[in-house]
């Protein structure tokens, strides 16, 4: 009998997370007959395969088999690009019958290898399902196909003065279905909350081919278990999201930002409290940058926003953004805040700037958003996306740096920089460790699972917004108890007893 989870047995086996790929003995490869069957469902242009009956050139299939970082290389011999939910349903029904593994794929912009075929699974790309189904400018509810690109949706609703409740660097490529399946966070999360709140309904093709139509546009609906929540962040392991109903907020009429230099990290928390209290509903971002990251940004031509004299030996920096409906009202609040910050007996900040024009507004954001690019120029980055209590941001970074020093790996010969920046408002720290001369196994061994352990000690999450995918499966237990994982397995078993839906992802 097929034993479903026998390829698991946690983490302790290997520290090379990305490389312990399970063998899918329960699954069949895609063959010519299968392609022939898919041809009866889909138009010829919707099927890509290296099998001889189709013989798509390798170059055309490559984009579906490599993630954007070039880190994960998929093995799929065939890719299907259905145009309708009905087609998705028929494909899944057939795959269930034939025991063919399916990897649902969106814009392929993930960071944890969640959308890549590990063995012989077929890739089901949602990219051809890219129509907006409806938009109601009164309620702001947008209903769209899963394959719609996030930026296209933003542009679609912009003339109606609405914005998408999420915004990420990958907005030009990532698809809304993928955003939902990975529960993507991003820059607007602090203000508009996570997708668990803004998604009102989903249309999902379940692993047996059934179409689960929960494309509700209701804001309130307490009728039984809220099944859609399982698919938000489900990373395609429980079903394929094909349609989305999402609540979009009205576009803010006034935006401002300030950039502050803080003498000590200890001031970040009191500052966060003060800013939250005084700005109230107009605060839309609270971002943190440590001194190492700031100095690196300056070296690469970001800023300078502040004069070096005024910055002095400030240890960290904070960017606060406001979005509101009335510029005068927002500015008054901001000015009151700044006045109280500067006139306090023991000021929390050394200095700062308030943007005076849209250009300055953009330059201030550019300093924060440009860091990712600077990191790439510094060397090869190990990037950790973790949630830890706000108070621990600095000591997680320090602990990693100290470990590198104690192992003799800190310096231009190995790890040249350890830095932290991220979304304080969401408790999400982006820990970046730069290997100046490239990735090396001993560096990775020094970092992992050490980082996961210190995150676990602080009851943090090893993946704040990037997901688990195939990269962090074996680190899942650092953030989820055995009982939680066991019940996740039971959920998986209920939805996908054949284990055909994105196998080898999420669960260890």
């Amino acid at each position: 009998m097929l034993r479903l989870h026998n390829f698991i047995r946690p983490a302790f086996r290997s520290r090379r997370w990305a490389h312990n790929i399970p063998t899918f003995s329960h699954l069949n490869s895609v063959n010519e007959e299968d392609i022939a069957h898919f041809s009866s469902i889909l138009a010829p242009t919707s099927i890509l395969s290296t099998l001889s009956s189709v013989s798509t050139p390798a170059d055309d299939i490559a984009p579906y088999n490599v993630d954007w970082m070039g880190k994960y290389h998929g093995q799929a011999n065939s890719v299907l690009r259905p145009r309708t939910t009905q087609q998705v349903s028929e494909i899944v029904k057939y795959c269930a019958q034939r025991k063919i593994g399916i990897v649902p794929q969106g814009g392929n912009t993930g960071l944890v290898g969640g959308g890549i075929s590990l063995q012989k699974e077929i890739v089901l790309s949602l990219g051809a399902m890219n129509n907006v189904r409806s938009f109601d400018p009164v309620s702001g509810v947008l209903v769209a196909d899963a394959g719609c690109i996030l930026q296209s949706l933003s542009e679609y609703i912009a003339p109606h003065n609405h914005i998408m409740p999420l915004d990420l660097g990958a907005k030009g490529s990532c698809q809304i279905g993928g955003n939902i399946s990975t529960n993507a966070g991003g820059l607007r999360l602090l203000r508009y909350g996570s997708l668990h709140g803004t998604v009102l309904g989903l249309e999902v093709v379940l692993p047996d081919g059934t179409i689960l139509d929960q494309l509700s546009t209701l804001r309130k609906d307490n009728t039984g278990y809220d099944l859609k929540q399982l698919f938000i962040g489900g990373e395609g392991t429980l079903g394929i999201v094909t349609g989305v109903s999402i609540l979009t907020p009205p576009a803010p009429q006034a935006t401002n930002n300030i950039f502050l230099a803080l003498p000590r990290f200890d001031n970040v928390l009191p500052l966060f409290q003060t800013v939250k209290r005084q700005l109230g509903e107009i605060m839309s971002a609270f971002e943190y940058i440590d001194r190492t990251a700031y100095d690196m940004g300056l070296q690469h031509g970001l800023g300078p926003l502040l004069s070096a004299d005024e910055v002095g030996d400030s240890q960290c920096f904070v960017l606060v953004e406001t979005s509101g409906g009335n510029q005068d009202h927002d500015l008054e609040k901001l000015n009151n805040l700044l006045e109280s910050l500067l006139t306090a007996d023991e000021p929390l900040i050394n200095t700062g700037v308030l943007s005076q024009s849209p250009t300055q507004f953009n330059s201030i954001w550019a300093l924060r958003e440009g860091l990712t690019e600077c990191v790439q120029k510094e060397g090869k980055p190990y990037k950790y996306d973790v949630s830890v209590p706000l108070a621990d941001f600095q000591n997680v970074v320090d602990a990693v740096r100290e470990r590198m020093i104690s192992k003799g790996l800190y310096g231009d010969h190995a790890i040249s920089k350890v830095m932290g920046y991220g979304h304080v408002g969401d408790g999400n720290l982006h820990l970046n460790v730069i290997a100046k001369h490239g990735y090396r196994p001993e560096l990775e061994a020094a970092l992992e699972p050490f980082i996961y352990e210190i995150v676990a000690e602080r009851k943090g999450s090893v993946s704040a917004e990037h997901g688990i995918g195939s990269m962090k499966r074996d680190a899942l237990h650092y953030s989820k108890s055995e009982i939680s994982i066991e019940w996740m397995r039971k959920v998986k078993q209920v939805f996908d007893p054949l284990n055909i839906m994105n196998p080898g992802k999420v669960l260890p």
Partner: protein, 272 residues
């Protein structure tokens, strides 16, 4: 012989509040002008002028006695003055015009500035302003003011050096095909070019402590009438429209169709 006391310099910086350059300009529905209900900020050329004035003081220290900024505009222009004060100016003058009033033209502005200069008890030694405003692109105010005052003028400056002892300014200006160096006697009117940014000055951000200080700096409010100047525009705007939208291209199936389309559009070839 006793050295004569160094003459302390007073600098005047006229600035203008304009639609921010990052904003997409749209014609208003009445076709009388552009939609002004968008983000405004200091005219970038004027921002360079403010920065340069502050830098002249940083170089000459106490030899610069005062930096005064002035704007002529609606009540909201006060914000622009505060920005300039936060950048380092000492005091400001706001010649206020009603929100509904049309924007004054360069001659009216120059006359207003002349009247203002004449009111300054300690005189003005340097007027430094942007070479043009990005909203009307007239580029005339500095020159007209120099004409009205009978002062030296150095336009499109990319480098400014002031010698307070000799009461002269050496100015490098942008001209076609190169740079020209001028030596002007004070008082002088200087208009700043964008190249200043690349060469010496990226306008500074108003830091929070300076924004707070700026709130306590004096702003004098005046009207054109109080200055005895008429700033009524002499030009009448009849209509403002957007340029015609670009029509997208099309695809043709073959060469014959392409030739037919070209002929249709009036392009004909001649046999060589």
């Amino acid at each position: 012989m006793r050295p004569s006391a160094v003459r302390l310099l007073n600098i005047l910086v006229p600035i203008k509040r304009a639609v921010d350059y990052a904003v997409k300009i749209r014609v208003n529905p009445e076709q009388t002008g552009i939609d002004l209900n968008v983000k405004h900020s200091m005219n970038p050329f004027d921002e360079i002028a403010v920065e340069e004035a502050v830098r002249i003081r940083e170089r000459l220290k106490d030899a610069v006695k005062s930096i005064k900024v002035v704007t002529i505009g609606p009540p909201k222009s006060a914000e622009t003055l505060r920005t300039a004060l936060a950048m380092g100016a000492d005091s400001a003058v706001h010649v206020e015009i009603p929100d509904s009033a049309p924007s004054p033209e360069p001659l009216g502005v120059a006359k207003t500035l002349k009247a203002l200069i004449e009111r300054q008890k300690e005189g003005v030694d340097i007027v430094i302003l942007g070479k043009q405003a990005i909203d009307d692109d007239a580029g005339q105010t500095g020159q007209m003011l120099a004409g009205l005052m009978g002062w030296s003028q150095a336009t499109f400056a990319s480098k400014v050096e002031v010698n307070p002892e000799q009461k002269v300014a050496n100015i490098t200006r942008e001209i076609d095909g190169g740079l020209e160096e001028l030596r002007c006697k004070l008082p002088v009117i200087i208009t700043t070019d964008l190249r200043q940014v690349q060469l010496l000055n990226e306008p500074r951000y108003a830091s929070l402590p300076n924004i707070m200080k700026a709130k306590k700096k004096p702003v004098e409010k005046l009207t054109a009438a109080e200055l005895g100047v008429d700033i009524t525009p002499r030009l009448e705007t009849i209509k403002v429209t957007e340029p015609p939208k670009r029509v997208g291209g099309g695809k043709v199936a073959n060469v014959d169709e392409l030739l037919a389309k070209l002929k249709e559009a009036g392009f004909t070839g001649k046999r060589a």
